[in-house]
Amino acid sequence: MSFVSKRAAMLAACLSGLALTASAALADWQPTKPIEIIVPAGAGGASDQMARMMQAAIQNNKLSPTPIIVTLKGGANGGEGLMDMLGSPGDPYKMVISNSAIYTLPLANKLPFDWRKLTPISILAFDNFVLWVNANAPYNTAQDLVAAMKKEPEGAYKMGGTGSKREDHILTAAVERIAGVKFSYIPYKSGGEAATQLVGDHIKVNVNNPSENVAVWRAGQVKALCVFDNEVMDYPAKVTADKSWKDIPTCKSQGIDFQWIMLRGVFLPSGVTPDQVAFYQTMLGKLVETAEFKEYLEKQALKPSDLKGAEMVKFLEKDEALYKDLMTQSGFVATN
């Protein structure tokens, strides 16, 4: 492309530095065909955005000798994309960007999928969950909300989230148990939809990821009550007129002692060679150092992660057990 902007020129400067280190640690295996990033989600969602960002960062910094192609396979809450990965053993030209659907789909839908049948490469980031209410709502803390809810009949407060029996729904059920309240949970197709529905006051609360609500937060249309994590988010730059991500307190400090984060990880199909795994780990290792990726993390308020290999497997085991436990408690595990 002959049309190079200033931003890209700056990146090119960074890139020449990277290229030196890249050639030093050249993996033995190199792709000779385009690499497909499978997105088990719909267009415009968080996974899609991540894939596009990776495509741009890899392409602009020449981290792969061949082009990157993004393929959306969002059917059945991503089950389509995951089953596609399962059905492509030994294909080193497919990687999937996955979230917690790898646990929820087999449990809630008896989908014959198991992440152990894929090759875990690395977890690039973790996504937080924040408790959001409409900007005009009278409460400013989670305690206020819980107190207000207890005055109304059960289920009077509508909670919106992405899909049914998935991370938002599980989190809602956990909050209900801890705080002793009851929501009417309304499943939407995407977090973006849940965000607009909150602004339009069709629902009272949502537990969107920061990236799903950041636009309406900055416009002063919603309020962030607390974040479901052990510590506050580490982004001190102001996002709205007077608040940064770091200013959102933890829900633990507001009486809802619950931690809930979601992985954004990359897997290859089963049966790929160690050389190929090494290539992808090196490529993704360089990817997380790029300016694009860092900017992306900050914009989406994601938690950086460097889990890979055995550590990643250990995390997945633990995380899956947690999902299984919570989903069993909420009655989301398929029985028939």
Binding site: P34, E36, S184
Partner: protein, 170 residues
């Protein structure tokens, strides 16, 4: 289409009446099957509104009902009896397109889309269009080549590819 001269000389292969009966019976069977499956996953009205199988179940009932109405109305209708669904030679012409198409799709699975479309376009032109072989082969070649250039080279669209492309390293 009734003013087509062929229609008069073309003996009937099957009447519209029989086809309609078969289609309605098939639809009824599908409706019963889907109705049963949706009943299985729950077709009631839970506290939070209709269950997953509620709408599909009643849709199946509706489909089944309409199919039964269809069967009855076909049986009672008089004018459908002599109506020709498709004539022998007309159906022959349909098969002359449809069978090659099925073979083409099989071929796509074996040798990939580009080679298959070359073979399909060229042979179709030669055998069915009775066009001159060299023109047909050239057309097929240009068409496939252009498709490959647009989809694979320019736009990176991953279409099914076979051994030939692999031999050239694509």
């Amino acid at each position: 289409m009734s003013n087509d001269p062929n229609a008069e000389v073309d003996p009937a292969l099957v009447s519209t009446r029989s086809v309609e009966l078969v289609v309605m019976a098939l639809l009824l069977a599908v409706a019963v099957f889907l109705g049963w499956d949706n009943w299985r996953i729950g077709a009631g009205w839970a506290p939070d509104g209709p269950q997953a199988g509620y709408f599909p179940f009643y849709l199946s009932v509706l489909l089944g009902g309409a199919a039964i109405v269809g069967i009855v109305s076909v049986l009672r209708s008089v004018d459908l009896r002599d109506e020709v669904f498709v004539g022998r030679s007309a159906f022959g012409r349909v098969l002359r397109v449809f069978i090659p198409t099925i073979l083409f799709v099989f071929l796509v699975q074996v040798v990939g889309l580009y080679v298959a479309s070359f073979v399909f376009v060229s042979l179709f032109m030669i055998v069915i269009g009775r066009l001159s072989p060299w023109k047909s082969v050239l057309t097929g070649l240009i068409f496939s080549g252009l498709m490959f250039y647009i989809f694979d080279v320019q736009f990176n669209v991953l279409l099914p590819k076979g051994p030939l492309e692999a031999a050239f390293g694509f």
